[in-house]
């Protein structure tokens, strides 16, 4: 490709709303153009990178036996009504009517469509397993699209759905996908973690996210400093925390504790570590049909409630929100002094949960449900019918649940960009759609489903968030729009042009994707474009050619090297590029 015939409209100015470097550089480098909130045109450079990413994904997916399909983008609302998501999905689901007033949505995901598809064709276990995937446009009407292609409204996604006759086979495919995604993201040159994710809300039995490590990431993830363990905050576990101070020795008793409505004041009052206190966190859970109820979570005073874990604890709840002081007082409770004793009798609420690390714990201090009073010497091992759940947020410095015992691996928090998500859905959709097959013994069973997504257009941004410097982007060879930029310093110098053209042809013949910068531009502008666009290598054909010198540059470290222009240049370049 000759640059003079190409369309890579680079810009000097940073777009106003670009807070991330990837957003800024992709626009300035002429890869994308914003045409609406969260909607982008992909220009030739952007398309070249997208196509390479797609090819890698297709190659790896096809290797596993998954089959590519292309599902209709405009989807009948009736399918979404059947699964119940038409109402539940919220405003991110773009709904509209056609000329005949039929209701449709723009597909943000395809569990409904694919389940209906499978239902109409697959009848027997003999036709299983089956994995269908597509790489297609999706639309999600984000309230606040941002970060360029990382959180757009219209985006390209690889979504795959697998169907199985048994849990074991679903698990097998899930593992194959974990390996496949790992290979894909490795080939894309990403530093990432496979992260245990929350799967409570969708009700599946396992879910992992692929997180690109980047300071600018929106997601906080919890990573071990010694092993590969990583998890989302809402899924992170740890080795049970142990006491660092001796327990307060006291028999069970009610104690007058004026002005101790906070854990700090309570611990201070008793001169104990807040580890020995119990904090009550009151929330309001929302259920189907507009019903709601107060819910009570008891955790150590030194811990923080994780809202997703809390939500997952309550069967049937769709969401939990803050409970107001009025609401708490109206059921006869006194904020600051709430405890578990007699709580069910006072409030009638069945929703009372303790953090699982409190199981069988003694020597605790807890509210007495009476203003200015706490109980001391609380022994939970004596209480019956307590429901223990994992409720608390893991903190930096906690011990890794995988290697904490042996190697004392410690967890730390870092930021990530989610680029993939794999999911064991189970029979959630197949049951809702009555999508059944006959098993070996002739019994009708719902399919067991997995689903697997990769944010393809988002990857453009995620990759750059890990690979840039102050001059621009740094694409790796596997997905760079071009591998080598041959820059002619002065195109009016016929010797330079002639030499560059010959080299360009010779390298193209050897399979190197070159762009020949033959534009009528200053040398400095050409170098600036090379650095901004982030082509992995450049070759400068300039004045030095008279003395038999050309210059080879690696974009990543901007390392420059003089080459003898008369001596096996093609071979030397191939060697350096590693082709």
């Amino acid at each position: 490709m000759k640059f003079s015939n190409f369309f890579a409209p680079t810009l000097k100015e940073k777009p106003k709303d670009a807070f991330l470097k990837s957003h800024e550089y992709l626009i300035r480098g002429g890869f994308i153009q914003q045409i609406g909130s969260g909607i982008y045109n992909f220009l030739p450079l952007g398309v070249r990178v997208l196509e390479k990413i797609k090819a890698i994904i297709q190659e790896e997916m096809n290797k596993t036996g998954a089959l590519e399909v292309s599902l209709g983008f405009v989807t009948a609302a009736s399918l979404w009504q059947k699964s119940g998501r038409y109402e539940r999905y919220g405003k991110e689901l773009l709904r509209f009517k056609d000329r005949k007033e039929n209701e449709f949505v723009l597909g943000p995901t395809y569990e409904e469509v694919i389940t209906e598809l499978i239902k109409s064709y697959i009848k027997s276990y003999k036709q299983l397993p089956l994995h269908l995937y597509q790489i297609n446009l999706k639309f999600r009407d984000e309230i606040r699209p941002r970060f360029g292609v990382i959180r757009g409204r219209e985006f390209l996604m690889k979504d795959g759905y697998s169907f199985h006759g048994s849990k074991e086979d679903l698990k097998r495919e899930f593992n194959v996908m974990e390996e496949t995604y790992t290979r894909i993201f490795t080939r894309l040159g990403l530093e990432f973690r496979v992260v245990e994710a929350d799967s409570g809300a969708i009700g599946g039995s396992g879910s992992k996210e692929f997180m690109v490590l980047a300071q600018s990431g929106e997601d906080t993830i919890c990573v071990c400093n010694k092993c590969q363990y990583a998890a989302n905050l809402e899924a992170a576990r740890r080795i049970k925390k142990t006491a660092k101070t001796p327990p307060p020795q006291a028999d069970f008793a009610k104690f007058h504790t004026p002005n101790t409505t906070t854990i700090e004041s309570l611990a201070e009052f008793f001169k104990v570590d807040s580890f020995w206190t119990i904090k009550a966190v009151v929330k309001k859970a929302l259920f189907e049909k507009g019903e709601s109820a107060l819910v009570f979570f008891f955790i150590r005073g030194c811990e923080t409630l994780n809202v997703t874990k809390a939500l997952n604890a309550i069967a049937g709840a769709n969401d939990i929100i803050e409970a107001s002081e009025e609401e708490i007082r109206s059921v006869g409770l006194c904020p600051g002094y709430i405890g578990a004793y007699a709580l069910r009798n006072i409030t009638q609420s069945p929703y009372i949960y303790f953090d699982k690390e409190l199981e069988d714990c003694k020597h605790l201090i807890m509210g007495a449900n009476e203003e200015d009073y706490h109980f001391v010497g609380v022994d939970l091992s004596l209480c019956e019918g307590i429901e223990f759940r994992d409720l608390i947020e893991v903190k930096a410095g906690d011990l890794c649940p995988k290697c904490g015992e042996d190697k004392q691996g410690e967890l730390y928090l870092t930021q990530g960009i989610e680029v993939g998500h794999i999911f064991q859905l189970g029979d959630k959709y197949s049951s809702a759609f009555e999508a059944f097959f006959l098993d070996e013994s002739g019994r009708s069973k719902p399919f067991l489903m997995g689903c697997y997504g990769i944010g393809v257009s988002r990857l453009l941004g995620a990759i750059i968030e890990q690979h840039y410097d102050e001059r621009g982007m740094q694409w790796n060879k596997a997905i760079a729009p071009f591998t080598l930029d041959i820059i002619v310093s002065n195109i009016k110098d016929t010797q330079q042009m002639e030499y560059a053209r010959n080299l360009y042809r010779a390298l193209q013949e050897r399979g190197i994707e070159c762009i020949l910068d033959d534009r009528e531009e200053r040398y400095g502008a050409k170098i600036a474009d090379f650095e901004l666009i982030g082509i992995p290598y450049a070759l400068i054909v300039g004045k030095g050619l008279n003395e038999g010198n050309i210059e080879f540059i690696q974009r990543k470290n901007l390392l420059k090297e003089k080459l003898d222009s008369r001596d096996c240049v093609v071979e030397k370049i191939l060697e350096r590029i590693g082709s």
Copy 2:
């Protein structure tokens, strides 16, 4: 690919609404699944063919220097308001609002988007010419989607847009695209015609359509039996028709002609060929802002008015519709006796047009604008200020405008499916968007644009309409989902399976895309699927293997040939497949 791992859900029953064979076979063969009116899922077989068609289009487009982009599907309504098409496009343009009540459309075509894109980046003639294309989903809310993928609502389209500094350069690119499209459709194995199309409405200076010849086509096209000339009815021309009978000899005079309100009765009255009579066709033209006017077209009595040609004759008209007898009488005219003399004075209408074949004609008979009276001996060469236009429909047997003089080529009418359209748009959109560039002398000029479309998903249907028999589809090798179907007659016969597997591996290694039919199905079902799906070649590994025989079948003519299973089978197959 092993058939047992593949997903090609073939059906025996014909879908109720499938009137075309392509529609029936694509659904029965498991290439597509209908999920809504005019909306389809593409299953693995369909995707494989689509991908091959896309690859051919991309290869040929890229060769010309056109650059691939991907434009946002969800498009701001404001762009369409700017071009005026938001109102004019009609209900086929699907309009909707997002969660913030902003108005959008689903892009059916991208002249607006691309013009805005170019405007923001291209400032100088030095950056021209530029041709950007995409292969992306489009949506057109057809009132009556039909014929499967041939007239869907959601469809895959290649649309390209070129920008130029001069008419000559636009014309050059237009010619390049005509050649490119011709190569693409030839590689797809299609019998097609490049057809002159009407370009009046869009106001460009040239437009050609690529029509696949098929009985089932919706478009009537006019084709020469001796040369390559072909045109849409609304664009078809012919060599001027000459008289087959001597002219009625009469001096100019008003004649009492009772009961001659039809051309037949008039010709009968005078015992002349209707060639010598003039027919008045009165229509009502609709203009912007709800204005309308009666319009008058005069053509020979033996001809038919072509409505598109008629519409193009009237500057500024958006549409023409029938005029009622009341409307005609209300301006003082008498249906059946309308003529051109004094017509402007009677009606005040400036919209009076004669067919151009009537220029300078004499000996004509025409209405006298008086009940029961006609003029005879009308000599148009004596009249001043007549506007002559091409108004009439070409008929079978008319002489070809290209070779009619020399070779007496005759036109005939046939049916076609439009699969491509190329267009010289000129400055229509660039002027509306104030998209200007500076030319060599520093003057600001609107870009001159071309646009070029291929109906990619429609091609699946169009190809089959030309390549099927009563058993199913007949794909050609260039785009077939697989090249060779290796059918194992009895998979429990280990010798057969072993042989087939080895052959499969050997042929795959030689680059032949094979599918190994190792399903637990009857032999007859496997053959029926091979014939329905239309894989170009099959190899039957059956009982004959014991005697050293296998069978090679060509799908197209169902020609069968015995091959010696022990003698260079791979080479023999490669030879027959032509790889």
